[in-house]
């Protein structure tokens, strides 16, 4: 799994950080920052959930 955070469409809701704090963070402006672009197999479920919960479509999963 490959994860990208689209900083142009991010609205800083923070759902990704709440859901998968080891994979996502927010920078000083509150915009998504991906910590691990290739999450471990054990993290894939929460990353998928983070993508579902992201309100603006900023969390993108590329397989």
């Amino acid at each position: 799994m490959h994860v990208e955070g689209d900083r142009d469409v991010c609205v800083g809701a923070g759902m990704c950080v709440l859901t998968a704090p080891d994979v996502f963070d927010q920078d000083d402006d509150g915009i998504v920052k991906v910590l691990h672009e290739q999450p471990d197999a054990g993290e894939e479920d929460v990353v998928r959930q983070a993508a579902t919960l992201c309100p603006s479509g900023a969390v993108k999963l590329l397989s």
Binding site: G12, A13, G14, Q26, D29, P55, S56
Partner: protein, 390 residues
């Protein structure tokens, strides 16, 4: 054809008159209480799809907009310098981005000890003065008011004024009273923004007004939105959470012992109570969805109270179950307008509710739930007072 919205009869359940909205049809045209017709959306998947759709507008100045809001809210939301909440992108995004950094997960973690201190101070004061107490004035309202004052740089000494004005906007007895309350609060915040104490208002004035990115008037409208949304909503959530937990002793027992599970419990409370029952929008393009076509110019009402009880999204949706995963609720909305203050609200609830039940173990209602005065349906749901004892 049923009308929408309809008054709650229990503080934490959507109106029993919504039965027809829950028959599995995800959206339908309904007559609104103000006489307009609009699409009322009750399906979870369709609600999320529409809230995320760029052909769906939050702009209240659109003539087709379903304006089922109090007069004072309508006046604020159609003003030339109206808050970003009721504007579309790219303007909405430009304003929202000026504010996000104050509401990040990390920023709220830093603020948590301060919220904890405020919560315990209010419990100390309530215990010293009672029993009995009105939980709304002793705890639910002062906690978020003190927190949002600290964040914005609004003097808490003025809390009686701004709480009364906010309540007047939402629940004024006449349209004139509601509109006047909004004008008074705007005047107060315009004066405050002229020489603001330290806080977010002062920072926005320095970094955004000073650089020409925001006018002083827009700053006052932004402050009005953050101040109002920052205290009325969380106050209602605290009060209704206490009622729901006291009315479900087996859930309260689990809540008391499961401190690790507090964040998940708060998500279930947000879903179950859904204090903002409707999210209002208008279509600005034709949208094909679930076998229907929403035409440009037609109003859309996302019935969040019903969506959060959708059977295809939540197992046994009318069951209050702190053990379930409810994170996909739409209590904070969805799409680019999803609540900016959601992580502030989560933190306040995660701190306030366990502290209250820990420190007041004998807390109980001092009036039957059926006798509580419920707030009118077109505003944030809640009760006007909650008599408690311990």
């Amino acid at each position: 054809m049923i009308t929408y919205p309809q008054q709650r009869t229990c503080p934490y359940h959507p109106s029993p008159g919504y039965g027809e909205l829950r028959d599995g049809t995800p959206l339908r045209k309904v007559q609104l209480v103000n006489g307009q017709e609009a699409w009322v959306v009750s399906g979870h998947e369709q609600a999320r799809a529409l809230l995320a759709d760029p052909r769906v507008s939050a702009d209240r100045t659109n003539t087709g907009f379903p304006m089922i809001v109090p007069a004072g809210v309508a006046a604020i939301q159609t003003a030339p310098n109206r808050p970003f909440l009721v504007r579309d992108d790219p303007e909405h995004n430009r304003f929202r981005r000026m504010l996000i950094s104050e509401f990040t997960v990390r920023r709220l973690r830093q603020l948590r000890p301060e919220i904890d201190r405020i919560v315990h101070d209010r419990i100390d004061a309530m215990l010293a003065a009672g029993p009995p107490a009105d939980l709304v004035t002793a705890f639910s309202l002062p906690v978020p008011s003190l927190v949002i004052c600290r964040m914005l740089g609004v003097p808490y000494a003025d809390h009686e004024f701004f709480e009364k004005a906010t309540s007047g906007i939402l629940r004024g007895r006449t349209p004139q009273e509601s509109t006047k309350a909004g004008a008074d609060l705007l005047e107060y915040l315009t004066a405050l923004a002229a020489d603001p104490p330290p806080g977010l208002i002062a920072r926005l004035k320095r970094e955004r007004v000073g650089t020409g990115q925001m006018s002083l008037d827009e700053l006052a409208f932004t402050a009005l939105l953050l101040l109002g949304a920052g205290h009325e909503t969380t106050a209602s959530m605290i009060t209704l959470s206490v009622i729901a937990l006291l009315e479900h002793p087996e859930q309260l027992a689990a809540f008391r012992t499961g401190h690790d599970a507090v964040p998940a419990s708060v998500e279930e409370l947000l879903r179950y109570l859904t204090i903002v029952e409707s999210i209002l929008r208008v279509a600005v393009g034709d949208i094909e969805i679930a076998g229907e076509v929403i035409k440009a110019g037609e109003g859309i009402v996302i019935a969040t109270g019903v969506v959060n009880r959708a059977e295809d999204a939540f197992d046994e949706p009318d069951r209050f179950d702190l053990g379930r995963s409810a994170v996909h609720h739409v209590a904070f909305g969805y799409g680019v307008h999803q609540c900016l203050g959601q992580n502030l609200a989560r933190t306040e609830l995660q701190v306030a509710l366990p502290a209250l039940f820990d420190r007041v173990p004998g807390l109980r209602l001092a009036a039957p739930v059926g006798e509580l005065e419920l707030r009118p349906i077109m505003t944030i749901q809640g009760v006007n007072a909650l008599p408690v004892t311990w």
